[in-house]
Amino acid sequence: MDPARLLGPAQIDVLAQLAVATILLGGIYALIAVGLTLIFGIMRVVNFAHGEFLMLGMYLAFWTFALYSVDPYVVVFVSIPVFFVVGLLSYVLVMRGVIHASHNVQIFTTVGLSVVLQNVALVAWSGDFRFVRPWHLSTVLRAGSTTFNLTQVVAFLIAVALTISLVAFMKWTHAGRVMRATAQDRDAATLMGIDTDRVYRLTFAIGIAAVGAAGVLVAPLYSVYPTAGLQFVLLSYVVVVLGGLGDMLGAMLGSLIVAAVEVAGSYLFGTAWKEIFYFILFILVLVFRPAGLFGQRGAETLGV
């Protein structure tokens, strides 16, 4: 496929639309990755079940919409405390026991959790594709000849808001500082009197709350089904590593980069290749700058 080489008005339109697609898609990825980078960054746990919590958020949006006709944008506020509790429960029931175990144990615990959640959803709600169709789903905003899908725009804005509030939380609150300290050096933190178990509990709960809310917000954009999380989980990891562990602004930037690679790759070479591009990018980053594009060199070895 040979896109226009000349930059005539039609081509500028295309570029503008591609840029918009990148930003909006990046917003969705950021929303999903922000919770992951928090958990991964502070707890050093590779949570394979991350996509499944996203899926649960999507189902929450679906059922509240189908049964009570509540708009997802209202549900999202409810979802944050709901998934906060879900995160707490998951931590206490599943994660706490393996937090001090080897990486492999953690990986496989979360893999088991992922299988369980997927199939609980399958048994409870069947494998049918569901849809959330609020009135604003097909609403588009137009600026010139560029269109913005309203639902995606809102998701983007909320992603930004969420990231900013999490950054603020981490930087300026006591709890945030405590979490960062624990991430830097778990043992030193314990020596300083920090209850690391409590920190992890909070971290996990916040991380899950974030991804649950993300699920509610993206539900109108994609189908809802038990394995819906698979689409996003690997991609979220790419974003997280690109942006640097635990670095939430990095996650936002990483999301934009991944989205840009996807959109440009799809446009220039066809949708078939898009994942290859960001996986290769992923491997390159891991090899040359494992702390992420924006992280400090060597940061990746801390606590690992």
């Binding site: 990486h103 088991g112 399958l122 790419v238 290859i276 992923f282 891991l286 690992v304």
Partner: protein, 323 residues
Amino acid sequence: MSFLVRSRRGALVVFGLAAVTPLVVRDAYFLDSLVLILLWGALSAAWNVAGGYAGQVSIGHASFFGIGAYAAALMVTRFGRGPWLGMLVGVVLSIGAGFIIGFLSNRLKGPYFALSTIAFSQVLLIGVSRWRGFTAGGEGIPVPFRPGFATLGLGHVGWVYMALAAALLCYRVEVYLERSRIGYQLAGVREDEDAAEALGIPARRLKVFAVTLSAALTSVCGSLWAQYVGFVDPTYVFSVDLSVRFALNAIIGGMGTALGPYLGSILITLLETYLRATFSGVKTGFAGIYLIIYGTALILVVRFVPEGLAGIAARLRARRAHA
């Protein structure tokens, strides 16, 4: 070396039983389960070479499995030659891929390494899916069944022994790693890489060696699998699910022990086939129940018995020693 004697005894039981079973049992399903147990066990043992003995935990071993499967399938369907030649080609290609992963293992640690192996397997998956002209892409390759040893067209009994041979091969490699000088050096690298290097052990080379060896063995099993099941599909053979499965058996059975992967495979494969047979047909609505049980069992085992079944044996041994 008394621990070796012990390990031999357990192995004798397992492999001996496997060898004897086809002589007494003729039931096709039982034999099929046995083949799968041995094959998954061999694959986990191959994974164990890199994961347990060298400490390089990868969740991307499906890369090598897929390479082996496709090499065998393509050699038969596209080039009209036998699967054994395909297996050889697969091994060569997997060694190449193993070098890449080995290189990555020297630059990355822990979860980063694991993630990079996943990315690698996904790149292969996508690449193979797109290369429609050569690999038939997403359509997959049906592997024809032609009776005979050269074409790996064996009956159920034949397959048991074939899988047993593969299992013994991987087991033998593991035992070699336990006994040999290279194995000791590898153990040193696994426990504390910096200290090992300080002692003059060529840690980086050894890690690459372990990963490539592991890759080659996995590829061999992949080629066998392709001929056994008869259909090679990129979304399955390169999947993360498969990679996880290889590691799973080894972890449950006991990483870093020679027999562990096989014990793990026995438990997991049987659990899976038992649950699937019992629950899947019950009602459409209950189709996922066996997977829920499987996932929960995974969480519990990994949490409460992290050293695996072989670890239980070690505990019992220790207790006896104190008694």
